[in-house]
């Protein structure tokens, strides 16, 4: 009797310990990933380079603490990508290049094993930014262009209904000539498809949840290039409603429409 009671008590305690353990071990990484996600998105919303750098630094510490956690590694690369694009816009290619080099290193290791579709799409975009910031763009374009395309195909295969994949595909199409699978029409179609997919997009934390504002921003730029001023303004205003602190939208993109013929 005493023995039964003892075993029952031990099992009860062990179960509680396992629950506690799963609450203590998995959640810290998941919570960390989620707080990283929020801090990167906050930095992106405000187009704040210092905040993006701080998020990338926190992600680096997190990966040093949990080196095998795929989600933390994804967010480290994503933080570097976001910080790199902001640094590129503000300081030019020389200072931005190391961010994309490091993001590529992290992602190329990450995609060796099956991972979330956003990681493939992010790597495709990082290749694109490496081309844009390369010292000799023609060589980088020729070496990385095909890699970027095939990685984007892999992202679409892994997540055909993932709106962030379609956002990044749309951005890529905008910077690729129509004769090589890109162009304004393709970019418009991809970005519109992404916005449709966002309507049913309910990712659970800590999965990536960004992208709707980006889709509106880039679709607005597609319309601006097509000289559709009103359509572009509607997209930029939709993006501003989602990210009211984003100076790029309020101070650059919206005023730029006034110069359209």
């Amino acid at each position: 009797m005493h023995m039964r009671l003892l075993v029952s008590t031990m099992i009860l305690f062990a179960a509680q310990a396992v629950r506690a353990q799963s609450a203590d071990v998995a959640p810290p990484q998941a919570k960390l990933a989620d707080s990283l996600r929020l801090s990167i998105e906050a930095a992106a919303d405000a187009s704040d380079v210092d905040a993006a750098d701080a998020a990338a630094a926190l992600a680096e510490r997190a990966v040093a603490l949990y080196p095998n956690d795929a989600m933390l590694r994804h967010y480290r690369a994503y933080a570097l990508y976001r910080a790199g694009t902001m640094v590129f816009g503000r300081f030019g290619s020389g200072r931005a290049r190391p961010y994309f080099d490091k993001a590529r290193d992290v992602l190329e290791q990450l995609v060796e094993k099956p991972t979330i579709p956003e990681s493939y799409a992010l790597l495709a975009s990082v290749y694109g930014m490496q081309i844009a910031t390369a010292k000799i763009q023609m060589l980088a374009g020729m070496r990385l262009g095909s890699k970027s395309n095939s990685m984007m195909e892999r992202a679409v295969t892994a997540g055909p209904n993932n709106p962030r994949v379609w956002v990044m595909r749309g951005i890529g199409a905008l910077n690729t000539p129509s004769t090589f699978g890109g162009g304004l029409d393709k970019a418009e179609a991809h970005l519109k498809h992404a916005i449709e997919l966002f309507a049913t997009d309910k990712p659970e934390a800590p999965l990536p949840a960004w992208g709707l504002a980006d889709a509106h921003v880039w679709l607005g730029q597609v319309y601006a290039r097509q000289k559709k001023r009103d359509a572009a303004r509607a997209e930029f205003e939709a993006a501003r409603d989602l990210q009211p602190r984003n100076a790029w939208i309020t101070l650059t993109l919206l005023p730029s429409l006034d110069k359209l013929p």
Partner: protein, 726 residues
């Protein structure tokens, strides 16, 4: 019970101490003492950490622990970990630049990069801070391996070749490189402001098939890419004032304007000079640069520059005293376009380069305008992940003119009152095709194989130049390089007109063979290269101004470059070049030392930073004396009052060796987040050594005298203010 109480007290004390946080603080620097901002400093195994601020400082608290290990990481630098022994002590952390795997494969035979790339031989900052270079690009290139210190000028004499055998390209457009001023102290050629440039690629031999009509070397100057923020730079110094405005525009456009004026009068007043100048050296530069990056992979740029300069000095020799004056105007316009369309990368460069120089010696005046127009088209095709094919063609036209005149009567200098003694007009057309295969079989190997075919209106038929170069990373920090190729250069059209009647002057030819090894990347680093060059069909001018063709020769040597780790905070860069160069002497027809055979060249640069914002540099340069042909006697001309010299063996004597020590110091002051101010002072020729550049003779050749440096010890100072917008 008592023991339990003690144990409990110890436990409580210990846990209390563990809970009490410790404050960690310090600064992070580069190996050169420059603060590293944005470094991630954190306690290993925790999320506790901070980013360094603009002066490299960090401060954060972490739970106290028996052992604390700090990680310090920054993109572009090697990761560091430090065990903290005394958390209360402020830490000074040095980060070393990361050895990039891409940079290693940028090591190519005889190619040196000055730019932001990892592994660059010179950074833009070094170009402007090497003492004695006066922020001149050519003088900075002279501090690289393989360039001989033949005189005090800015000509690039490379691996036993003449300065006319080195070609300079601006944004891939060929520039004229005639001498702007050929003074007794040296050959001065036009160069650019280093602040206009993003990178300089200097190749002392073994270069690819894209570049032709160069027997020795090429220098590729790339102008700054599109600025992303408005920037204003104002610089002023003892002899110069200048301003530089860069404005980013909408839709990927930008505009940059640069204007400089220089006048050496204050420098000469302050420091004195052995020469008497009636017009001290003065000049002006105006530059405009337009960019349109209409999509991320595309670049369209227009660069236009005009430089003017003049100088007049009293030329006093034991036999004669007259005035030497020269004035020049140089213009260059380069329009370049490059894009990437999938696997293809087309590019077009259209360039026009013109120079007008007049020189007067007493009443005699020599005018030499030249104009070069060139168009180049290239197409790169990615034939796979590791193979790029390149084909292209170029066409060009060089128009040269020379005329000499004297006043028709007395010293009448009015326009139209001169008698033209001679006048030569030459126009030469030229075209070429080239093809190259750029292969990277593995991450650790790289080879470029190609050929070039040139047609010129002069010379005899077309020339064919096969060329190959490769490099192999044998180990992590050990790269071996090699290159083999044939190079042709057409004879200057004006020299052609001076050839003996009926003489044929085909393109001059050189074969290059180079092997090298590099150990390490940025610092420490050792690079050694050995080379051999064999010449044929060389053309040179004799003492009687007749161009003699059919010459031959060889050049061989070793170039060494080393960067040493810091010792007592001092960084050291050492360059040594040995060359042995022989060519057919145009006067005697015998093989003799080439006129620019300067066997030993040493350049060493030492730099140290103090108190974070002060940096100092000192350089020492040494070169063997250049060879000259001695006069061993003279006979009086029977029908004139002149003496006819009798010469010794060609280039059998040497001038005294050249040596010079220069020093510079600068003080850097950041201005909040929107600018910076740099004040500098430079002392050139610190030891006040009077170097000899030419040995000349009196009219009867009974005694020799030396032409010496224009400057003795000289002090120069100035400041540069840079303001940057958001």
């Amino acid at each position: 019970m008592k023991l339990r109480l003690v144990a409990l007290l110890i436990a409580l004390t210990t846990s209390g101490a563990a809970a009490q946080p410790v404050v960690l603080r310090g600064r992070v620097y580069t190996t050169n003492g420059v603060p590293v901002a944005g470094a991630n400093v954190f306690v290993v195994g925790s999320l506790d950490g901070a980013l360094t601020d603009s002066v490299g400082a960090f401060r954060f608290s972490a739970p106290r622990s028996a052992s604390l290990t700090l990680a310090i990481r920054r993109l572009g630098f090697r990761d560091r970990q430090i065990d903290i022994v005394n958390p209360a002590r402020e830490l000074d952390v040095i980060l070393e630049p990361e050895a990039s795997r891409v940079a290693a494969m940028n090591v190519q035979a005889s190619r040196y990069v000055a730019g932001d790339e990892a592994g660059a031989a010179l950074t833009p900052l070094e170009i402007v801070t090497i003492p004695g270079t006066a922020a001149d690009v050519n003088r900075a290139i002279q501090s690289l391996p393989g360039v001989q210190q033949v005189d005090e000028g800015t000509g690039l004499f490379v691996r036993g070749g003449d300065f006319t055998e080195t070609r300079v390209f601006l944004n891939e457009g060929l520039l004229l490189t005639p001498a702007q001023i050929q003074s007794p102290a040296g050959t001065f050629v036009g160069t650019l402001d280093p602040f206009l440039l993003d990178g300089v690629y200097f190749t002392s031999g073994g270069f690819g098939a894209r570049y032709g009509d160069a027997l020795s070397a090429i220098a590729l100057l790339n102008t700054r890419s599109r600025p992303t923020r408005p920037e204003l730079t104002v610089s002023t110094g003892l002899a110069a004032i200048g301003a530089n405005v860069a404005l980013p525009g909408p839709g990927g456009t930008s505009l940059a304007l640069v204007a400089d004026r220089n006048d050496l009068t204050p420098v000469l007043r302050l420091n004195g000079s052995p020469r008497q100048f009636s017009t001290p050296p003065r000049g002006a530069d105006r530059t405009m640069s337009l960019h349109w990056d209409y999509r991320p992979t595309a670049k369209l740029s227009l660069f236009a520059t005009e430089q003017t300069g003049r100088v007049a000095a009293l030329n006093t020799t034991p036999s004669v005293s007259d005035t030497f004056a020269t004035a020049g105007r140089e213009r260059a316009v380069v329009l370049s376009w490059r894009d990437v369309v999938g696997r293809f990368s087309p590019g077009i460069v259209l360039s026009s380069s013109a120079i007008r120089r007049t020189e007067s010696f007493g009443s005699y005046e020599l005018a030499q305008p030249q104009r070069l127009e060139q168009g180049v088209m290239t197409l790169d095709v990615a034939l796979g992940d590791r193979v790029v094919g390149r084909v292209g063609g170029e066409t060009g036209r060089l128009a040269s003119h020379i005329d000499g005149s004297v006043p028709a009567s007395g010293a009448d200098q009015r326009p139209g009152s001169r008698v033209r003694l001679f006048e030569v007009d030459e126009t030469r057309r030229h075209r070429a095709t080239f093809a190259e295969l750029d292969v990277r079989p593995t991450e650790a190997s790289h080879a470029v194989i190609g050929f070039r075919r040139d047609w010129s209106a002069s010379g005899e038929g077309a020339t064919l130049d096969p060329r190959a170069s490769g490099n192999l990373r044998v180990r992590e920090l050990l790269t071996v390089t090699g290159a083999l190729g044939v190079y042709h250069q057409t004879v200057d059209p004006l020299l052609e007109t001076l050839a003996a009647a009926g003489a044929s002057l085909p393109s001059m030819r050189a074969g290059h063979a180079i092997v090298g090894v590099q150990i390490g990347e940025s610092t420490p680093m050792l690079r050694v290269e050995a080379y051999h060059k064999r010449y044929s069909d060389l053309a040179a001018q004799s003492r009687d101004f007749i161009t003699i063709g059919g010459g031959s020769g060889t050049a061989g040597g070793v170039d060494v470059m080393a960067r040493a780790p810091q010792v007592a905070g001092v960084s050291t860069r050492l360059v040594y070049s040995y060359v042995r160069s022989v060519r057919t002497d145009p006067n005697s027809g015998a093989l003799a030392r080439a006129p620019f055979d300067v066997p030993h060249n040493i350049t060493s640069v030492f730099s140290r930073s103090f108190a974070r914002f002060i940096s100092t540099s000192a350089s020492f340069r040494y070169a063997s004396g250049r060879p000259y042909t001695p006069v061993i006697g003279a006979t009086r001309s029977p029908d004139s009052p002149t003496w006819i010299p009798r010469y010794g063996a060609p280039n059998s004597e040497r001038l005294p060796a050249f040596a010079r020590v220069d020093f510079s110091a600068s003080w850097y002051r950041p201005l909040a987040s929107h600018g910076q101010f740099v004040a500098y002072v430079a002392v050139t020729n610190v030891l006040d050594r009077s170097n000899v550049y030419v040995r000349q003779y009196t009219a009867d050749y009974t005694s020799a005298y030396d032409v010496r440096s224009i400057f003795n010890r000289a002090v120069y100072f100035g400041g540069v203010l840079t303001l940057t917008g958001n």
